[in-house]
């Protein structure tokens, strides 16, 4: 037995003790609350609840202690612990120390259980809803028990149950250095937080998202409580504000992920229908559907069964999304490369999902016949009718999304996979354009939801007199038709990629969403007489509508300004019949240092590079100068590249935000290593066809000037205005090099496409035409290697509508929550101010 030097084993032992304590206390609390929920006399019920509450408190404190100890280990860089070694490093800034904890699987399970502990404590210490506490807390404790199992790390019959965050590095990794007592002196630094994740969103997005996930257990618990207590409909009223809370937080959490992806990851957008994104969207859609059916039940007594289903399924799909993202089953389909943590853990996660799903569904069917149903159908002129249809559409769309997202699961299901291979000719994979598969269905969903949310507010519960309804709805209808028409004329969509039918669908969806916005905004005036405390629904519908309009505009009219005529014109890409553009634009553009290059309406110059605060981070200053507004519009973007250990690289975009558009740019390729400054400038020579010019290392010949060349590199047509100089450079060692600089006149002005003779470190520019059939050729000679970067640059128009809509939607939901909880005015205003300033700051100003 070796005595190792310098290890700090105490924190780990304490941590491990708390894991076991949390596990045991959640189990006892579970039993206590379960007994309480089945107790017949009031006295023993109160006694069991007391036990349950105390043990839940012990469990909550234990979980907080576990978290604090992990934080302590990571912040002190105790690399004898595997978790610190894997996730922390000395260079890590303080704010990322928290983030590095939830980078790992154990940490994110812990984060989830912390929120369960917080929400559970609120429930069991509130003075209200006493009759529901016992069954609700039973459910919370079951979840806590499972989550603690995930981080237990104890062997049972040779199988390790869960991965403990307190394992020692030397026990986990077989390497010779661990046979030396002083091995710690060699473990100088940990692996640190993945640089892709070093972003302030990583600090804030996971806690909010996990709060959203954790909060879905409360409506689930209420649904269970309804069945368990046999008070089949009474749970809806106390569950509704929690369902609203869940919808708000989960919605914000998901869009924070979108904003993060947009700001700091080089996916080129805020939503990509990635499996990981979808997996969190699905519970949200179902929760929103559930909120609506609960509202229907509260007002009319209809839709109780649907409320059960949606409350149950929302949480089940949270568990399913954990299964999808944490077991590595998505491996080959997602850019979010979550990894497999071992077979045992995967099976445990699977059991976790089934342990919740199967019993509750069995229980539901056992009680189904007792759940009260109103036999009389709703009138089609009633509000509840259309709310139900809307909820159903939300639910169906969520099913569609999860069915497509689960494709990788089918390949892992033995019999199903064989069947697919037989029919399909191979394991199923997503089609060539997976985003379009989602978009073409979701655009129909948007159209229906837009219409329903627009007019249903004007309907009354039970039934609505026809004339009054028509009178009220007519103005918003006309107004939104006019606005859509103006939009179509002034700012038409240019998304021709999928043909006229899809373009028509985008316009229809835009109309429906504008309609929804106008109708809801006007309803606050007409229907609610400006009573904002009642306007939660209208405000959130209006916000949702703006968000979707923003998504439609920013995606349809997104422009790739780095799509160059220069590069890769020799690609045999098909030409879109409507736009006459290549339908597969080549999105990268090479920027040579100090040489201005045209990008859309901008001249972009790569000015210089500079080191960042962190080791290995490098910023590239790009100057954008607009040709419009007399060239006054000028700004600098600084996208950066992170060089890590192992020479891994990660690229972070930079975005210039205007009120109406964002210019989004990131480095797609940079030369590794030391760069050099290039101070040389272009030297002009006036030259005619057949004449000779000189440069320092030889001479060059102008063979010919051709108009609208059509060769392997450029494909100009007759009505273009382009000139190409055909030059041959002959160096002193008689090597011949071709160069074909081009000058093009188009709607933005004159564009020069320089050519390079890399071997001679030359840039050749077609400066312009001179008198007497001569042309001006500019030559720039670099003494050293040419420094360049390759960028991708997009314009997202009106993307702020997306964030603004989200904020409005969330504020609307919070107004409803406040009303349901009957909070006093001062508290209500304080909460709303905090929520709205927080959201506005995070989504519109931070970064």
């Amino acid at each position: 037995m070796i005595k190792f030097e310098g290890e700090h084993l105490l924190p780990g032992q304490i941590g491990h003790f708390f894991v076991i304590l949390a596990l045991v206390s959640s189990f006892i609390s579970l039993m206590a609350y379960y007994n309480a929920s089945r107790a017949i006399n009031q006295e023993s019920k109160i006694k069991w609840e007391q036990y349950g509450r105390i043990l839940f408190l012990i469990q909550g404190i234990s979980i907080l202690s576990i978290f604090s100890i992990i934080f302590y280990i990571c912040s002190h860089h105790y690399y004898e612990y595997m978790y610190a070694y894997k996730h922390a490093s000395k260079e890590l800034e303080y704010k990322y120390l928290l983030a590095c904890i939830w980078e790992g699987q154990e940490g994110s399970f812990l984060l989830w259980s912390i929120w369960h502990a917080v929400l559970g404590s609120i429930i069991c210490f509130r003075k209200k809803d006493n009759e529901w506490k016992a069954p609700l807390m039973t459910i919370v404790n079951v979840a806590q028990f499972f989550l603690m199992l995930m981080i237990l790390g104890i062997y049972f019959f040779g199988v390790r149950i869960g991965n403990s965050p307190f394992t020692l590095t030397r026990n986990e990794i077989p390497a010779p250095i661990f046979s030396q007592p002083n091995y710690l002196t060699f473990l100088k630094d940990g692996m640190g937080l993945n640089v892709l994740l070093r972003n302030y969103w990583m600090v804030i997005h996971p806690p909010i998202l996990f709060l959203g996930f954790a909060s879905t257990i409360i409506p689930f618990g209420f649904a269970y409580a309804g069945l368990q207590t046999k008070k089949y409909g009474d749970w809806i009223k106390p569950a509704l504000p929690w369902a609203l809370f869940s919808a708000a937080i989960l919605g914000i959490g998901i869009m924070m992920g979108g904003k993060w992806a947009y700001e700091s990851l080089s996916f080129g957008g805020y939503w990509a229908w990635d499996p990981v994104e979808n997996a969190s969207l699905v519970p949200w859609l179902i929760m929103v559907a559930g909120v609506h059916t609960m509202l229907i039940y509260k007002s009319t007594g209809h839709s109780l069964k649907a409320s059960y289903w949606f409350s149950i399924l929302s949480f089940i799909f949270v568990l399913y999304s954990t299964f999808l993202t944490r077991t590595g089953i998505l491996g080959d389909t997602s850019v979010h490369a979550f990894t497999e943590a071992g077979k045992a853990i995967n099976i445990m996660i699977g059991i976790f999902v089934l342990m919740f799903a199967i019993p509750i569904i069995l229980l539901y069917f056992k009680h189904q016949k007792n759940i009260p149903v109103i036999i009389k159908e709703e009138e089609t002129s009633s509000r509840e009718f259309w709310m139900f249809i809307g909820a159903l559409i939300l639910f169906l769309s969520s099913l569609f999304i999860i069915l497509i997202t689960s494709i990788p699961v089918y390949s892992k299901t033995p019999l199903l996979n064989d069947l697919i291979i037989k029919i399909h000719g191979g394991p199923l994979a997503l089609p060539e354009d997976p985003e379009f598969l989602y978009n073409k269905v979701m655009i129909l969903v948007a159209i229906i939801l837009g219409l329903i949310t627009a007019f249903s507010q004007y309907l009354k519960y039970k039934s609505t007199p026809r004339s009054a309804f028509i009178k009220k709805i007519v103005y918003p209808t006309i107004l939104s038709a006019i606005i859509t028409a103006i939009l179509a004329i002034v700012y038409p969509y240019t998304y021709y990629k999928h043909g006229a039918g899809f373009l028509g669908a985008i316009y229809t969806a835009s109309f429906c969403m504008i309609y929804s916005f106008i109708a809801n905004a006007m309803y606050i005036r007409i229907g609610l007489k400006d009573k904002f405390s009642h306007a939660g629904g209208s405000i959130s519908h209006a916000g949702f509508a703006i968000m979707i309009v923003g998504m439609l505009i920013s995606s349809s009219n997104k422009v790739v300004i780095s799509d160059s005529k220069v590069n890769g014109i020799n690609i045999p890409a098909s030409i879109d019949p409507m736009s006459k553009k290549q339908d597969n634009p080549t999105e990268n553009l090479t920027l040579i240092r100090q040489v201005a290059t045209k990008m859309g309406e901008y001249d972009v110059t790569y000015l210089k590079d500079s080191a960042g605060n962190e080791k290995g981070r490098k910023f590239y200053a790009l100057e954008f100068q607009s040709k419009k507004n007399k060239g006054n519009e000028k700004f600098i973007l600084k996208p950066d590249v992170y060089l890590m250990k192992d020479n891994n690289m990660s690229s972070n975009p930079d975005t210039k935000s205007f009120l109406t558009k964002d210019i989004f740019t990131y480095i797609s390729f940079a030369i590794n290593g030391d760069n050099n400054t290039d101070t040389a400038s272009f030297r002009e020579t006036t030259i005619g066809e057949g004449e000779k010019g000189f440069y320092s290392n030889g001479y060059f010949l102008l063979n010919k000037v051709s108009k609208n060349p059509n060769n392997e590199k450029y494909h100009f047509k007759e009505n273009d205005i382009a000139l190409m100089a055909d030059l041959t450079f002959v160096s002193n060692d008689s090597m011949h090099y071709k160069a074909n600089p081009i000058v093009i006149a188009d709607s933005f002005g004159i564009l020069q496409i320089d050519d390079t003779v890399y071997a001679q470190n030359l840039f050749v520019k077609f400066v312009g035409v001179s008198e007497g059939r001569k042309i001006k050729v500019g030559i720039k000679e670099s003494k050293t290697l040419i420094d360049f970067i390759t960028v991708k640059s997009y314009i997202f128009p009106y993307i702020n509508l997306v964030w603004f809509g989200l904020i409005l939607m969330s504020i609307g939901i919070f107004i409803s929550i406040i009303k349901k909880f009957r909070l006093s005015n001062t508290i209500a205003i304080t909460i709303l101010t905090i929520v709205s300033t927080g959201l506005i700051y995070m989504f519109l100003f931070a970064n």
Binding site: M191, T380, F385, L392, F400, G568, N584, T586, T590
Partner: protein
């Protein structure tokens, strides 16, 4: 119109969506050899970068042209042309998923998904390697 009628209508809408989805040409996972038998058809290939061959990427002349060779676990091999930038950490990837169409003598790649060791933090082998490097740099 009654609720049941509307539900029937929604049923029809779902059916239409179903047909829409069904009409989509879902792709398949293939090996390089089986993809060669399906020329011009959009497929997914799980392969590895062939490090014995050179990677051709010259961004100064054309940043949208990457040429390399891929091999798969069954020994199939193909030239791949990708009209985009060279993905970050491309050379370090352990596994790549190529999406595109097999042409006569090359694979016309539309999208590349990389599996990099850096993302595999939980991979023990990676950690082992990392520790050995620290060990040797002492």
């Amino acid at each position: 119109m009654k609720r049941t009628h509307i539900i029937i209508l929604i049923g029809i809408a779902v059916l239409i969506v179903g047909l829409l989805v069904f009409s989509v040409d879902f792709s398949t996972y293939d090996t390089i050899d089986s993809a060669k038998n399906k020329q011009g058809k959009f497929v997914h290939i799980i392969a590895k970068l062939d490090k014995s061959q050179s990677i051709n990427y010259d961004p100064i002349n054309n940043p949208n042209y990457l040429e390399f060779y891929a091999v798969d676990s069954l020994g199939g091999k193909t030239k791949v042309i990708y009209h985009n930038n060279k993905p970050t950490d491309f050379e370090k990837s352990e596994r790549i998923v190529l999406k595109g169409k097999m042409q006569k003598d090359y694979f016309d790649c539309k999208d590349i998904l990389l599996k990099c060791p850096s993302k595999y933090k939980d991979d023990k082998k990676m950690l082992e390697k990392n520790i050995k490097e620290q060990d040797s740099s002492k």
